[in-house]
């Protein structure tokens, strides 16, 4: 589609100008609050107390003695977060930053992987084998049941089930919950598999390849772009999910949960002259958890935003 400029008569309508101005205002406001947050995360506590919205400036007392030079202290604030950000486990013991980081990496990378690979495998079987292996049509029946039966196990029942299975509060076994093959990306991957010709597989069968080889060495590599987009999307969603670890994985707090707890702290003790209850430190914690995903998004934004469409993904 061609770009519309405001030189064109169509673009100069009240509707277009109003909505465009709304978008511009929204973007400016959002970027302003983001920039304010970033700037404040580098301020000293005193600067924030006396000057909440502006840039840091020197603060002097009535005798002209400089109490605060008015400089940014990003390094101190961010280092303090690394040292002091903790989250409680189920026994009340504090889990520090690096164990939380490890939990987060495992939670996002492993859980994200199974959440993409499971529907990928199920949709592959249905898309490529259902005509020859009749019983695999059961996959589609389950898919429809999942979509249209208006039942969803209550949160209470899910916790109760996790306790019965022994997956509650165990980051290594709870992953089983995410191995569902009939939700999430099923339809997206199904559309991709349907678009791929089976001729490649037939050629491979003649050459003696088995079905696992066809899937993993011929068909799957052709969908790698889609796979990475879906995987990155999952990683981004899981990275900032604090409620699942909070409810189901109490002994494995992630960074997102840690930041949530840190931001809810109102009476922690100060250390190193810095106060973990101060807004500047809380904002620094927020930016620490947001930066990796922001960076990932900026690197892959064209791929992600260009590829995702309603009906599926462009390969």
């Amino acid at each position: 589609m061609e770009k519309l400029s405001f030189k064109s008569k169509r673009a100069r309508s009240i509707f277009a100008i109003t909505v465009w101005t709304l978008i511009l205002t929204w973007c400016v406001l959002f970027l302003y609050v983001l920039a304010w947050g970033l700037m404040t995360s580098g301020k000293s506590d005193m600067q924030f107390t006396y000057n909440k919205l502006g840039f840091p400036k020197p603060i002097t007392n009535k005798w002209g003695v400089v109490r605060d030079p008015g400089k940014f202290q990003f390094l101190e604030n961010y280092a303090f977060v690394f040292e002091s950000m903790t989250a409680p486990d189920s026994h009340g013991a504090r889990v520090s930053f690096f164990p939380m980081l490890l939990n987060t990496l495992y939670y996002t990378l492993a859980y994200g992987l199974v959440a993409v690979v499971s529907p990928m495998l199920c949709s592959y079987i249905y898309a490529k084998y259902s005509k020859r292996v009749r019983w695999t049509k059961l996959v589609w029946v389950i898919m429809l049941v999942n979509m249209y039966v208006p039942l969803s196990a209550s949160l209470a029942a899910s916790i109760n089930l996790a306790m019965q299975l022994g997956t509650y509060n165990n980051i290594f076994t709870f992953i089983w919950t995410y191995c569902g093959g009939f939700g999430g990306c099923f339809l997206i991957y199904y559309a991709i598999w349907k678009g791929l010709s089976w001729d490649y597989a037939e050629a491979a069968i003649i050459d003696g390849a088995n079905h696992f080889t066809i899937l993993f060495r011929i068909m799957f590599p052709m969908t790698l772009t889609v796979f990475w987009v879906l995987y990155i999307t999952q990683i981004i969603a899981l990275w900032s999910d604090y409620q699942t670890p909070m409810v189901y994985l109490r002994d494995y707090p992630t960074l997102a949960y840690g930041v949530f707890v840190f931001n809810s702290t109102v009476n922690a003790a100060g250390a190193n002259g810095l106060d973990p209850t101060s807004v500047t430190i809380k904002l620094a914690a927020l930016f620490i958890v947001a930066t990796p995903m922001f960076t990932l998004f900026m690197i892959f934004k064209d791929k992600m935003m260009g590829s995702l469409t309603m009906g599926g993904l462009k390969g």
Partner: protein, 308 residues
């Protein structure tokens, strides 16, 4: 020769069956446990109570069999329950009635590639990348700082201001919601149709109302199916804003249910609340069937039936 070919085909069919079985068996078991059994367990819990002496959920006796359901409906008809529903409806309607049409217009302007659309698209998508939690906490710190600078204290807890401040957040973050889905569905509208409209001198507003919206009506319909059931389930951003201390005048039924399971409410332990929340969940699920069907019927009535 024929027999050899038949045998070859049988071997291939057998290999395919084995392959499909090897891949799918795990997912069938997973579904059986995490969907089928989980739902049955949820129904069982709705008719159970927590027995502290044996530390187990036991079925309620016959004379109290529907007690959890009775508790749920009793709560609904109390002034408190009514307030939960009203708050749920309030937050849900801001999202679905106010923000949804605006989000479609926003997506349309980006789709038409007006100046800076590329940058707008990235910035509008940023809240989804940074996550709701980061955006909510950033917003909370900024508004608190702004209010304090202007002499207001406790802006998030004062009953006269808290509702407006949280509503403003819901409205602000609702505007870019569903951007990629909406852009994706708009990009599927046939370009010939738009070009024809352009030749006829159609304005952007008319193109939006007469071509784009009818063409993407099925997507709009799906997004609106939960229009009324959301009154019960909407949690709003309350937990992230307030943690466990959301003001009474803002609490929704979704928030109440979450808190009931997370740490218990009204002096009851969370284990005691599992039966109640499961009964509430089941009741809402059953009540939603006619509501969703009614909404669908309503939308079908207005469906322009555009196909492409």
């Amino acid at each position: 020769m024929k027999r050899t070919k038949l045998k070859g085909l049988q071997t291939q069919a057998k290999q395919e069956n084995i392959f499909c079985f090897c891949i799918l068996i795990f997912f069938f078991i997973q579904w059986g446990i995490f969907w089928l059994y989980a739902n049955l367990n949820s129904i069982r819990l709705a008719f159970s109570y927590f027995n502290t002496s044996v530390d187990e959920y036991l079925l309620l006796p016959a004379n109290r069999f529907f007690e959890n359901f009775a508790d749920f409906f009793s709560l609904l008809i109390t002034p408190r329950g009514g307030e939960f529903l009203l708050n749920g409806a309030y937050f849900h309607l801001i999202t679905s009635v106010v923000c949804l049409p605006i989000s479609y217009m926003v997506a349309f302007i980006i789709y038409k590639k007006l100046p800076f659309s590329g940058i707008f698209k990235v910035v509008l998508y940023l809240p989804a990348i940074l996550s709701g939690m980061v955006v909510i906490l950033l917003y909370r710190h900024y508004i608190t700082a702004l209010a304090t600078e202007n002499g207001f204290r406790g802006i998030f807890t004062d009953p006269s201001t808290s509702r407006w401040i949280v509503s403003l957040y819901v409205l602000f973050t609702g505007i870019p919601s569903g951007l990629l889905v909406n852009l994706g569905s708009m990009s599927r509208v046939p370009s010939e149709l738009i070009e024809y409209g352009e030749l006829e001198g159609i304005s952007l507003w008319k193109e939006f109302v007469l071509i784009t919206v009818p063409m993407i009506f099925p997507v709009l319909q799906v997004q609106c199916l939960g229009l009324f059931t959301g009154f019960f389930t909407t949690q709003g951003p309350l937990f992230t804003f307030y943690n466990r201390n959301a003001p009474d005048e803002l609490q929704t039924f979704g928030y109440y249910m979450f808190m009931a399971v997370y740490e218990g409410v009204d002096g009851m332990s969370k284990q005691d609340m599992y039966g109640f929340t499961s009964a509430a969940n089941l009741s809402i699920g059953l009540m939603s069937i006619p509501i969703v069907q009614g909404t669908k019927w309503l939308f079908d009535k207005f469906d322009p039936g555009a196909e492409f």
